[in-house]
């Protein structure tokens, strides 16, 4: 179940081969991150799910059904989509932007609006902002509206294309944390695209790391990728090879454990002292690793 990519290929009409022989599954109710540098086919793969792009080879199945037979417009109305620069309609008030999907699915204006207000609250926005036009909001607020719009209609699947890529680092962190909170509550089947390693490690239950040329370099949990990189490319991409993700602990003056990076720069203090096992990098993020790019 979930979303299954089976030997998917895409060659654009101009001859550019964006992805080749990609197979992976996004299990239901979990977050899968497509990670890779620019141009390696992440957006192409994401857009296949709601048929904004059709594969030139292979199959894509949602809950076991090949979507090649699905009507694109209807399919898109059942899937949430969030993109980098919010993509909000500049001529519609925020509230109506959020309500768009509900209206397209046949909801009357009144109920759609009140549902949209609840969604604004859900993503941490004052519903009073709903009366504004998108360009009257900050970039971070616009992204929140984008997320609210993606969640409208309670879709099972949420597609996110670098959803927090265009906001400043502090706001990005806030949005990522909120996304995590939301996801524990809503348990959508999420496919999220990013080139940000930290984001992938922090949000992805599963990470699909792509290499240039549109192939999968490695797929697995953050833990698996960090502890057993499949090859040199993966190790270098994640910064494991250069030791950037190796952390050390040493005893501090008052007997507490101080965590340092590979160069010995202190990063923080361990609250519970490590047990007898030799302490190593914790990919779950309880110790924030140094920016790995």
């Amino acid at each position: 179940m979930g979303i299954e990519f089976r030997h998917v290929e895409k060659t654009y009409p101009d001859g550019a081969q964006a992805v080749r022989d990609i197979s992976f599954t996004v299990p239901s109710h979990t977050t899968t991150v497509l990670l890779g540098s620019s141009g390696c086919g992440k957006t192409t793969l994401l857009r296949m799910v709601n048929r904004m792009v059709d594969p030139t080879g292979g199959q894509l199945l949602i809950d076991g059904e090949d979507i090649a037979g699905a009507e694109p417009v209807r399919l898109r109305r059942s899937i949430g989509y969030v993109m980098q620069h919010s993509g909000l309609l500049p001529h519609r008030r925020v509230i109506d932007n959020v309500a768009t999907g509900l209206r397209l699915n046949g909801a009357a204006r009144g109920p759609a609006r009140s549902q949209a207000e609840e969604l604004l609250e859900l993503v941490g926005l004052d519903p009073a902002l709903g009366r504004r036009y998108p360009d009257q909001l900050s970039g971070g607020q616009q992204q929140r509206v984008g997320v609210a719009r993606g969640l409208a209609g309670d879709p099972n699947i949420l597609l996110m294309d670098e959803p927090f890529g265009a906001v400043d680092p502090l706001v990005r962190l806030e949005l990522q944390q909120q996304m995590k909170r939301l996801q524990t509550e809503l348990r959508k089947t999420v496919l999220l695209v990013t080139h940000d390693i930290e984001e992938a490690l922090s949000l992805g239950d599963q990470i699909i790391l792509l290499r240039p040329g549109g192939e999968i370099a490695q797929a697995g949990t953050a833990q698996e990728l960090l502890s057993a990189p499949a090859d040199d490319f993966v190790a270098r991409f994640l910064g494991v090879a250069q030791g950037r993700r190796r952390l050390r602990t040493s005893a501090g003056q008052d007997g507490e454990w101080v965590v340092t990076d590979a160069e010995g720069r202190p990063l923080g203090v361990v609250e519970a002292p490590p047990g007898p096992v030799h302490p190593r990098a914790d990919p779950s993020g309880s110790v924030p690793p140094e920016d790995g790019r």
Binding site: M52, V73, M83, G87, L88, P90, H91, L104
Partner: protein, 212 residues
Amino acid sequence: MDWILANTGRIAELTLDHAALSLPAVLAAFLLSVPLAVLANRLRPLREPIVSGTGLLYAVPSLPLFIVLPIILGTGIRDPLNAVAALTLFGMALMVRSAAEALDAVSAEVRLAAAAQGYSSWGRFWTVDLPLAGPAMLAGLRVVSVSTISLATVSAVLGVPSLGSLFTDGFQRGIMESVLAGVVMTVVMALILDLLLVLSGRLLMPWARRRA
């Protein structure tokens, strides 16, 4: 001044004649141009023929056009319809390009986002593409409206009454006040229509004000 006071009735009548020529022409130019612009925007190979082709209409000298049109339309040489048709064509020469460029300028990202929300192709055209192209189309329409009102004076040469008749009469009979009245009324009409267009733009596109 005396002449003007003595002829207010005629000036008012010619002003109405002038409006009856130019307003339908502005409206027709707009309504005919938008579908052509949509075609140019959607079917790339047709873009240049449509946009440049209609643009060339502007190069047609106006007087011969006024004379040829009755033959094509089967109307009488003094029929106001000729003037309306000619003015419409000149309006289209400006409006098609302007509308096509307005549609081209709609943000690809916003269009993509709308498609991803599940707008059908036509639904998106009416609710996203057209409104977002609106401000730029309005800018084009304002140019067309001013130029049409000014160009409509030429009809007087062909014996179709308009504010231009105040020029022809005035020159023939050496009445400067008549010429002056013609000029002032033409400018005033152009300004009023322009104001109306700006106001309806504000009403129809309240979101566009801060962005312009």
